[in-house]
């Protein structure tokens, strides 16, 4: 995973450094290849924000979160992409209530499967992410699970705080992006994820991780976001 990461960073740096040299070339190429098939793509840093999470934060008492996204075109169809966010959520289970708050970062690549016509720049992409989250959780209250009702079960309302928890996971993503105005995009992304490892508290297991969502019994989860993003155009190629 680390090796993969380093090569990604190298790739990113390489494209950045070669950019200044490319620029002069581009102008030359453009003049030479003004044919009707020439279809240059805009390269640049695209920054976005998830618009579901602020809406949920506003409409729900038990949710507070934000997510920003960024991606950068490496090749015509290949992008490096990242999402980062902060989340604070309270969840009521059958027999206990807990809150989780923390930050997360996901990084990976998107590959565009859609062939654009002329100057269009839309995407239908698949991709992969590595995700990492650092968080704290608080067990707000719980009721001891017992069979039979001869005695009322014990209820504990003293919150217990667990700090320095973390989780790593892998994600498979699928999404679309549409350029609605020049350099302004609307995007929708679904992701299916799988926990690689998670650090649990002593007497409490992580069932929700910021950025991952609810963890099911087999360690999987699903997520989605709906983004609005702006591309800062750098050059065309």
């Amino acid at each position: 995973m680390l090796k993969y990461f380093i090569s990604l960073i190298c790739l990113f740096l390489f494209t950045r450094t070669s950019y200044s040299q490319e620029k002069k070339k581009v102008i030359k190429v453009e003049k030479e290849s003004v044919s009707k098939f020439y279809n240059p793509k805009t390269y640049g840093l695209r920054l976005g924000i998830d618009i579901i999470k602020p809406i949920l934060s506003y409409t729900r008492d038990n949710f507070n979160g934000i997510e920003i996204t960024a991606d950068y075109r490496l090749k015509t169809q290949l992008f490096v992409a990242t999402e980062a966010g902060n989340m604070n959520r309270t969840i009521q289970e059958n027999n206990f209530n807990f809150s989780v708050n923390g930050t997360y970062l996901k990084a990976g690549v998107n590959y565009n499967l859609y062939t654009n016509w002329l100057s269009m720049d839309n995407e239908i992409y698949i991709g992969a992410r590595y995700g990492f989250s650092l968080f704290n959780s608080t067990l707000n209250n719980y009721t001891v699970f017992q069979k039979g009702e001869y005695f009322a079960p014990k209820e504990v309302n003293t919150p217990t705080k667990y700090t320095n928890l973390n989780a790593h996971w892998a994600e498979f993503v699928l999404g679309i992006k549409t350029e609605i105005f020049k350099n302004l995009f609307l995007g929708f992304m679904l992701s299916v994820n799988k926990i690689i490892s998670t650090k649990d508290a002593n007497n409490f297991k992580n069932t929700y991780v910021p950025g991952f969502g609810k963890i099911t019994k087999n360690g999987s989860g699903a997520n989605m976001n709906y983004t609005i993003s702006y591309r800062i155009p750098l050059y065309q190629k």
Partner: protein, 159 residues
């Protein structure tokens, strides 16, 4: 290409639905106290008894009916650190002759996380049992001081 995308989209939808299903609590939870009755003269032989059982200040168990049994499974109060059970020995031939033994069970509770659907269970440690009357009940014996499951009898009563 569009077929592949559609397939991926459908599979991811299916995946997310599948992973959202409810989980039921199927694990072992807070254990009960398992009591077995033995013959006081031949201590390794099980002996039936006719009883009415209730906890202090509580309604009678089994709807107040007389039960004939060689073992009992009794709940423990997770809110407190002790429970007093009244064992009233009955005689169907002579309904007037009842004799009540008071068994005081003391313990500490410890709560352990099981799973998302079950939440927490209580287990009991430092268990002790005392009896004051000693009429029909000759002696009682704890087989363990920690109650974590219901696999074996925790208390043997000799009568």
């Amino acid at each position: 290409m569009s077929k592949i995308i559609l397939l991926l989209l459908l599979s991811s939808c299916f995946f997310s639905l599948f992973s959202c299903q409810d989980e039921f609590c199927a694990s072992t939870t807070t254990p009960h106290l398992v009591v077995r009755f033995y013959n006081k003269d031949t201590p390794n032989k099980i002996k039936n008894i006719q009883l009415v059982v209730w906890a202090n200040d509580k309604a009678k168990l089994f709807n107040g009916q007389i039960i004939t049994t060689d073992s009992l499974i009794l709940p423990l109060d997770t809110q407190k650190n002790s429970v007093t059970y009244h064992f009233s020995k009955q005689n169907e031939a002579d309904p007037e002759s009842v004799s009540v033994e008071d068994l005081v069970i003391k313990y500490n509770t410890k709560d352990t996380y099981i799973s998302k659907s079950c939440g927490f269970k209580s287990t009991f440690n430092n268990v002790s049992i005392t009896n004051t009357n000693k009429d029909w009940l000759k002696s009682q014996e704890l087989t363990t001081t920690t109650i974590t499951n219901e696999n074996n009898a925790h208390v043997k009563i000799f009568h």
